[in-house]
């Protein structure tokens, strides 16, 4: 189960990917670990640099992490010039996660990454679409269908659409599939809220929830979607052990991503692959 997998033409040496936003750009992880994963999915890259949200950006919740990083990233130009070449030299396929606030932004990002050597794109649709009054792409199946179709015109290569786990998830997944997505990443964080006492009264921290708490929810989603979709599913949500990954594979995922686990323990990707390997022998 830790051997090579194929996802609509993209071959990975193993099913473990590092999830967007959870491994920096690898500067502080062991090169051995970075080389050993099946694929590297970058932090979400937008056209322009984003400074991200003001602090606090992190809250701890029961078995969970709530983050409001705010999609801080260096922007396409700096990424392509200063970061991507180094990532491509590490070894595993590099999948660039892209984010935009309109269809046009997504298209320009895709155009800007052509012929750079990236193995594929992961389209983060959990962003508000300013052209639709802030309605998130992830809540708009028709919009997703259309955008994925248009993306396909400029990006014929491999492309996964990363679902939000809330809203009309099944319809959005079908729309992405029909639009031409190579795979679906299921899923991003869950909208959440933590309230903290503060010097000026209670502080409301809105953000996305990840970690062990969400595994039963995203596992259910993967189970339900995998029985209805044709394209391969890449599971993402609360995988902290080989056993967690195994459950997602049983539920129908073809590959999986590890996010919060690496934040907690930089050895996690290696450990998880090794545990998954042990499990597959035991079976």
């Amino acid at each position: 189960m830790t051997g090579s997998v194929e996802l609509s033409g993209l071959r990975l040496s193993n099913p473990l990917m590092l999830a967007s936003g959870t491994w920096g750009f690898g500067e502080t992880l062991s090169p051995e670990i970075l080389r050993s994963v099946g694929a590297l999915v970058t932090k979400g890259i937008s056209l322009e640099p984003r400074a991200g949200n003001p602090p606090p950006r992190l809250s701890e919740t029961p078995c969970g992490l709530l983050n409001s990083i705010g999609l801080e990233n260096p922007g396409l130009a700096a990424f392509r010039k200063g970061i991507l070449p180094r990532l491509l030299r590490i070894g595993p396929p590099v999948i660039v996660n892209i984010l935009g606030e309109s269809e046009e932004e997504f298209l320009r990002l895709a155009e800007g990454l052509r012929e750079t050597g990236v193995a594929g794109l992961e389209v983060n649709i959990s962003c508000p679409n300013v052209k639709k009054g802030g309605l998130a792409f992830s809540q708009d199946p028709d919009g997703v269908f259309r955008m994925v179709r248009r993306l396909r015109e400029v990006w014929p290569g491999w492309m996964s659409v990363k679902l939000s786990p809330v809203g009309p998830v099944a319809e959005v997944a079908h729309a992405a599939e029909e639009g031409g997505a190579s795979a679906l990443t299921c899923a991003n964080t869950y909208p959440a809220l933590a309230i903290h006492p503060g010097p000026k009264g209670p502080y409301f921290h809105l953000g996305g929830l990840s970690g062990p708490a969400i595994k039963p929810l995203t596992l259910r989603l993967v189970y339900e979607l995998s029985r209805r979709l044709r394209r391969p599913l890449i599971a993402c949500g609360g995988i902290l052990s080989g056993r967690d990954a195994y459950e997602y594979l049983l539920a129908g995922a073809r590959a999986f991503q590890v996010g919060t686990a690496t934040l907690l323990d930089p050895e996690a990707p290696r450990r998880i692959l090794s545990e998954l390997d042990e499990l597959s022998r035991a079976d």
């Binding site: 502080t28 701890e60 029961p62 260096p74 809540q139 909208p191 809105l206 996305g208 062990p212």
Partner: protein, 314 residues
């Protein structure tokens, strides 16, 4: 009102307050290049840059507790076996600890390195919430997971004297730092403040390392008032090569302003909520003066005060 297209959809998504304030287009803040910082004093980074340093040296290990000793009500010293990390540790760095099974609490907690021996690292810990409660009950031989050393070390003075300003458990990293200074024949003074005498710990050990002046808000020991009062008075009579401060945000801001007025370089050791401790999550942001953010774990925890938006320190 009903029907999907008509009903304004709820923002059941990660909000972006910066966007609402028109500040979204900013800049990604990479680690400041060494030269920019060194123009304001000898702020030396690890020779190869922190990134490489962490890759080589940021180790993750299950280890055993060597000792746990109560210092005062609410404060204890925890010593762990860490032979791989101890030699590489530098004052100002921190270690993440987790000493409970399971995922609740989820995050390891960061603690400054308080002292080290050949094979152990020690931490001065204040009992604050759930995780420190567990740590406060550890016994020798019990298992603790550690990750470190992390973060940039404190700057060392070229030849002059350093003034240390500690507020409460902000004292923690200064013991290791003072031992390091002493081993190099460098001199320092410590200004140490707390709410009340019970919050002042390790005084005898500190007094053997450098002159110590103490202040308590309730006047139960030393000068009644804030530690910044002590600093203000001292600055009237002299000045150090630089000031290094560690403590609550209000104190750090006050020290930053005092140093600026006195024309003395100030370095602040900051704190922030951390999920990873090594630059992966971008969660440990603090506001940078002039806009954008600093990442406490990989660009700090120690920063020149003029880089920090002191009014937004929290």
């Amino acid at each position: 009102m009903r029907g999907r297209g008509l009903c304004p959809y709820l923002s059941l998504l990660e909000t972006d307050p910066l966007r609402d304030r028109g500040l979204r287009k900013g800049f990604f803040s990479p680690a400041p290049p060494p030269s920019a910082a060194s123009s304001r004093g000898p702020f030396r980074r690890a020779p190869l840059g922190l990134h490489l340093f962490l890759r080589e040296n940021g180790l993750v290990r299950p280890a055993k507790v060597r000792s746990r000793r109560r210092l005062a009500p609410g404060y204890f010293l925890l010593e762990i076996e860490a032979p791989e990390a101890a030699p590489r540790a530098r004052p100002g760095q921190f270690v993440r600890l987790k000493a409970w099974p399971g995922y609740d609490p989820l995050l390891p907690r960061p603690f400054s390195i308080h002292a080290r021996s050949e094979k152990t690292l020690s931490f001065l810990i204040q009992e604050r919430g759930r995780a420190t409660a567990v740590l406060s009950r550890l016994r020798p031989g019990e298992e603790v997971w550690w990750d470190g050393p992390l973060g940039h070390p404190f700057p060392l003075p070229e030849r002059g004297e350093v003034w240390l300003v500690a507020g409460g458990v902000g004292l923690a990293p200064f013991f290791f730092y003072l031992e390091t200074l002493r081993a190099r024949g460098l001199s320092a003074r410590l200004f140490y403040g707390a709410r009340t005498r019970g919050d002042l710990v390790r005084l005898s050990a500190l007094e053997r390392l450098c002159p110590v002046q103490v202040a308590t808000e309730d006047g139960s020991r030393g000068r009644p008032g804030l530690v910044t009062d002590l600093l203000r008075e001292a600055l009237k009579k002299g000045s150090p090569e630089f000031i290094l401060a560690c403590g609550p945000p209000g104190m750090l801001a006050a020290v930053g302003h005092l140093g600026e007025r006195a024309g003395v370089p100030v370095y602040l050791s900051l704190e922030a909520m951390m999920a990873c401790g090594r630059g992966l999550c971008l969660g440990c942001a603090v506001s940078r003066k002039g806009g954008g953010y600093l990442k406490v774990c990989v660009e700090g925890p120690v920063f020149p005060a003029e880089e920090v938006d002191l009014d937004r320190l929290g």
